[in-house]
Symmetry: C5
Subunit: 78 residues, 5 copies
């Protein structure tokens, strides 16, 4: 998974019907912006863990998303 | 998912039979050109959300596509 | 999907049994060389559309391939 | 698979319910930091083999993870 | 698929139980080192074709691997 920081969110009125009710956060990870579905409740500034690919879709009840926030990080031990 | 801007479309007469009827848009995302199936109705200049991989294929009735437009963005809150 | 140009092909005598009969084209896409299974009938110089990942395998009857030519492009409208 | 070196771990109190009990290691691979679920028992400094994508999720009982440590390397013969 | 050259192999005593009996080769492809399961019988110096992702796992009887040698190349026609 990738570690990223939530920097905003996006809205879409016209979208796949199966995306109704999904929240989409913009996450910055290593200089790249990724839009991820969020069911954990993350907000701007949170450091999060992203799962990508089919895994993310399955976690979001098979919605057509390829990235999802799966955790909000407390801290690291390096 | 990636955010991109629709910059055109492509046509193919010779193609996989199961691609009949699919619309293919060229989407520019972070300097990269991605061809994505579109079932949302996006057009040139629209900012869109792309889902990639098996997720995109499933969304397009299992057609052999690995990228799909799943939403047209209204705006961002950053 | 990626747009690429067919620049050649590869041969293999020793290979996975389930790859018998597959044609493998070398496709140049954005400076990268990708080997893709071809069931559409593309040839050197053709501009093609590539599907990658599990999607490509499914399109090729579950053969162990992760890239496939799914269309030969006629032209673009940009 | 990628070869990487374990450089730390991360904690999350708020996370997907199905991630309870998973250990997450931070692995450095070719200058990139990847967070991977670990069921092999790797620790800081270990050189490990990472599997990514749906494969990693399946290995971790379908948890929403896209990277997993699948082996701790003894040595290379190059 | 990617074309690469076998440059060595790796060993692991501590690993996922389902990896017992798998041979892991280190393959150099475009400056990147990829560890791939091998069931074709490739050796150092061989130019090989790699399949990646879930496709590789399925080819290796669902083992948790995300890259596999699927062919040893005879030659190219470019």
């Amino acid at each position: 998974m990738k570690i990223g920081t939530v920097i905003g969110s996006v809205w879409a009125t016209r979208k796949a019907a199966c995306l109704q009710g999904q929240t989409f956060l913009v996450v910055e990870s290593c200089g790249e912006e990724i839009v991820a579905a969020d069911q954990v409740g993350a907000g701007a500034g949170d450091r999060v863990l992203l799962a990508t690919g089919t895994v993310a879709s399955r976690y979001c009840m098979d919605a057509p998303v390829d990235a999802a926030v799966v955790a909000i990080l407390d801290g690291d031990k390096q």
